[in-house]
Amino acid sequence: MTSLADNQSEGKILILATETCAYPGADSVGQAHSSYPANTFILRVRAPALFPEHFYLDCFNKGISGIIIMSCGEECPYDGAYKAMATRLDRVYVMMRQQELDIRRLRLTAICTVCNRAFLNEVNQMNKVVQELGPPQMAQS
């Protein structure tokens, strides 16, 4: 019953997708039957501003190879949440550098409900990055 298709070495990509924009955007990609790498795991979030800095570091520590925050961008239904989250992300990048983590492993982008091409582009780019970088190695685990 052991499966090789779900091999850990592929590098897992966590996607935080906003429920009003990026998550239906991912559904739209599905409706178009456009294939993308299967090492992607989408979490539906109300606003990614919910996640504190340590969440991202914890994810890398657990073995997540890349994280894409797919927000609503300027379309954010919570006025001010996007800015708050972008500011917080600056601090996460500082912490990632301290941990000697390549900051390309974490990317903030905006995906709308029908942004199929942008979704696929982001996923494929991050997949290239995680294949290139391999599993995350923290300086202080």
Partner: protein, 640 residues
């Protein structure tokens, strides 16, 4: 289909039931559903795993309800299509089983697995998504919806036939209505028609009758020349900023109402019913309302210059223009007249601006194609042809079509009648549209020639010399980008507004309290638009019927045992008044702690990210739940 793994050591306090859908092959063609079931049965928190061909069917839902009622499970995960389609369906089933609907989590294994991945990878990913959902479900607690008062008031945007129907139906149920129409007239596009197929009703009569009922109803306030400028609030408590201003009108087409002494309530042909309300200066006002019904309608497709000779030859026109000409010139005679010219022979070309095909039809200036069928034009064209052939028997008609779609009651008869009336039909292939050219061989006789490879005569090249070419133009959604932007309305790839579910929730949007009526959603005929409007009115009445509405309980919760009163959450909060520092008694001492006002909380979670004590969460979307899901993404044993 074993539903329980009895050998498993139960280490969880919860009993999660998992229900995996085949979706009639949509999922099971790519995901080995039974293998997913076998793997998920091993998870400690899972008490039962079942599969079904269609979990959303009655038997599928009953399976969940029976397990809840018997006590076999106390949390529910359904793995099926996107949650936007059926999350409410399954929450409803849980409610019907007498349980709290928020003990539910959804795993999206169709749109985000089987439609995008294949083979073992699809099965493995589906397994992980389901295990992530069960890990979250284990931590779900029952939640109570937030109850807020809702005014029994509906705003209908758009004064066409659908908007009028919805307004009147609501008023008949005792609900106050504001009807906003941007033009000075009521009746919408229907007012631009004459005799309606297949019943033969006069559009003027239909519009006048319904608009009269609306204008005479004390429960309905009509504002013409009015457009929504701002939008805020939520179901039960929306607030619309409206601007009312003198309209811009083409005096060539429409005379200013009142100039010819029209009385309020009078029908002005090809404009609509004038309600006597013509502002001379702009004004702004606010509407507080519980539900919004969008009835923003459609516009007729305008061919581009050169499309079948449109704009190049004066003898090429559109079906709406022909209908208007016929209504304004009803003189009998052997030959029909158009623009003062007698028409001996005419061509109708179907599907202009509809059913456009990528690679064959050029994209519009906006870069889009109208790939949909406009649905109403076949019958409208046949109806016009029958009127012409009956009133002006000397005028010959050639109809050039790809397919004839007379789909409704009494409409197929129009086709048969047209055949009896000796209308000549010529059929063309998708990639071989007719050509409209100047008729050189018969110069001075028939000005135009329509050439086509006619598949009804096995591909014969046919040319029809004509005096007039009528382009049967389809429908396009009205440009409502301001409303789409303001209200965050979902729009389909066809640019019409997109309902939550085309079959099960056909007039609802994902935004609670905003409903759809008529052709803003898709091409419809008058009856269908009125049906949709009636459905929207019933939905609105049901939403407001209790005097309150229930909002999702996904709002911030403060854990007073952890809260140290730093006030970081209050500083970060995006909604004025949602979070406040208040004095309260803890262990006999007065301390300042954070307190949530649920009705004002947006549930965005900004407060969660800043709390140094992890003392605040968004109910139903907690950080711990997300962390548990991440653990399942990386857990090696899940797909082993």
């Amino acid at each position: 289909m074993a539903d329980e793994n009895k050998d498993k050591a139960i280490t969880s306090k919860r009993k999660v039931g998992v229900y995996i859908c085949y979706c009639g092959g949509n999922i099971s063609d790519h995901v080995d559903v039974e293998k997913v079931r076998e793997r998920i049965e091993k998870l400690p928190e899972v008490a039962a795993v079942r599969t079904n061909m269609f979990m959303c069917s009655d038997p599928g839902q009953e399976m969940i309800m029976e397990d809840l009622k018997s006590g076999a499970i106390d949390r529910v995960v359904v793995a099926s299509c996107a949650p936007s389609l059926h999350e409410t369906t399954f929450r409803g089933a849980i409610s019907r089983a007498g349980r709290n609907p928020y003990i539910y989590e959804h795993a999206n294994i169709r749109e985000q697995v089987s439609w995008v991945h294949h083979g073992d990878k699809a099965t493995d990913k589906a397994t992980r998504l389901v295990s992530m959902a069960t890990a979250k479900a284990e931590q779900l607690n029952p939640l109570e919806p937030i109850r807020v008062e809702a005014g029994k008031h509906v705003t209908v945007i758009g004064g066409g036939i659908a908007g009028l129907r919805a307004a009147k139906d609501l008023a008949d149920r005792g609900i106050k209505v504001v009807l906003l129409e941007k033009s000075p007239f009521l009746g919408g596009q229907l007012a631009s028609l004459d005799q309606i197929a297949p019943t033969g009703d006069k559009a003027a009569d239909l519009v006048s009758d319904l608009a009269g009922q609306v204008l005479n109803d004390d429960s309905i306030t009509v504002h013409t020349c009015s457009e929504v400028e701002s939008f805020e609030g939520y179901v039960g408590n929306f607030r619309l900023g409206v601007k009312k201003q003198p309209p811009e009108m083409d005096p060539e087409k429409i005379k200013p109402p009142g100039a010819a002494g029209e009385a309020a309530g009078e029908f002005i042909p090809f404009a609509g019913v004038y309600n006597g309300d013509m502002p001379s200066v702009p004004a702004e006002f606010t509407v507080e309302t519980g539900v919004i019904i969008l009835a923003t309608g459609f516009k007729s497709y305008m061919p581009s210059k050169g499309e079948y000779g449109f704009g190049e030859y004066e003898q090429v026109t559109t079906l709406p223009e022909l209908i208007r000409s016929m209504a304004e010139n009803k003189a009998a005679g052997n030959l029909m007249e158009f623009n003062g010219r007698k028409i001996r022979s005419m061509a109708m070309i179907h599907c202009v601006g509809s059913r456009q095909i990528p690679g064959i039809h050029p994209e519009n200036e906006g870069g889009y194609l109208n790939e949909y069928c406009s649905r109403t034009c076949c019958s409208a064209t046949l109806n016009v042809s029958n009127i012409i052939r009956t009133s002006h028997p000397g005028t010959r008609i050639f109809e050039f079509y790809r397919d004839i779609r007379t789909y409704g009651r009494g409409q197929e008869e129009l086709y048969e009648e047209a055949a009896r009336n000796q209308v000549v039909f010529l059929r063309f292939e998708d990639d071989a549209s007719p050509e409209v050219v100047r008729n050189i061989s018969h110069s001075g006789d028939f000005p135009l020639m329509v050439k086509v490879k006619d598949t009804l005569t096995f591909g014969e090249d046919v040319g029809a010399p004509v005096d007039l070419v009528v382009l049967v133009t389809g429908v396009e959604p009205n440009t409502i980008s301001d409303l789409v932007e303001m209200m965050k309305l979902p729009v389909g790839t066809d640019r019409f507004l997109l309902e939550v579910h085309p079959k099960l929730r056909p007039v609802e949007l994902p935004i609670s309290g905003i409903l759809l009526a008529g052709t803003c959603q898709a091409p419809m005929d008058v009856g269908e638009a009125c049906n949709a409007a009636g459905a929207a009115a019933v939905k609105a009445a049901a939403l407001l019927g209790r005097g309150y509405v229930e909002l999702d309980p996904f709002v911030a919760l403060v854990d007073l045992e952890k809260c140290g009163g730093t006030g970081e959450c209050v500083n970060a909060c995006l909604s004025d008044g949602a979070l406040n520092m208040v004095d309260m008694e803890v262990d006999g001492q007065t301390v300042r702690r954070a307190q949530v006002t649920p009705a004002l909380c947006l549930g965005c979670g900004v407060c969660v990210g800043v709390c140094p004590e992890n003392a605040i969460e968004v109910a139903g979307w907690t950080l711990k739940q997300y962390e548990a899901m991440v653990d399942r993404i990386v857990a090696e044993e899940v797909t082993a």
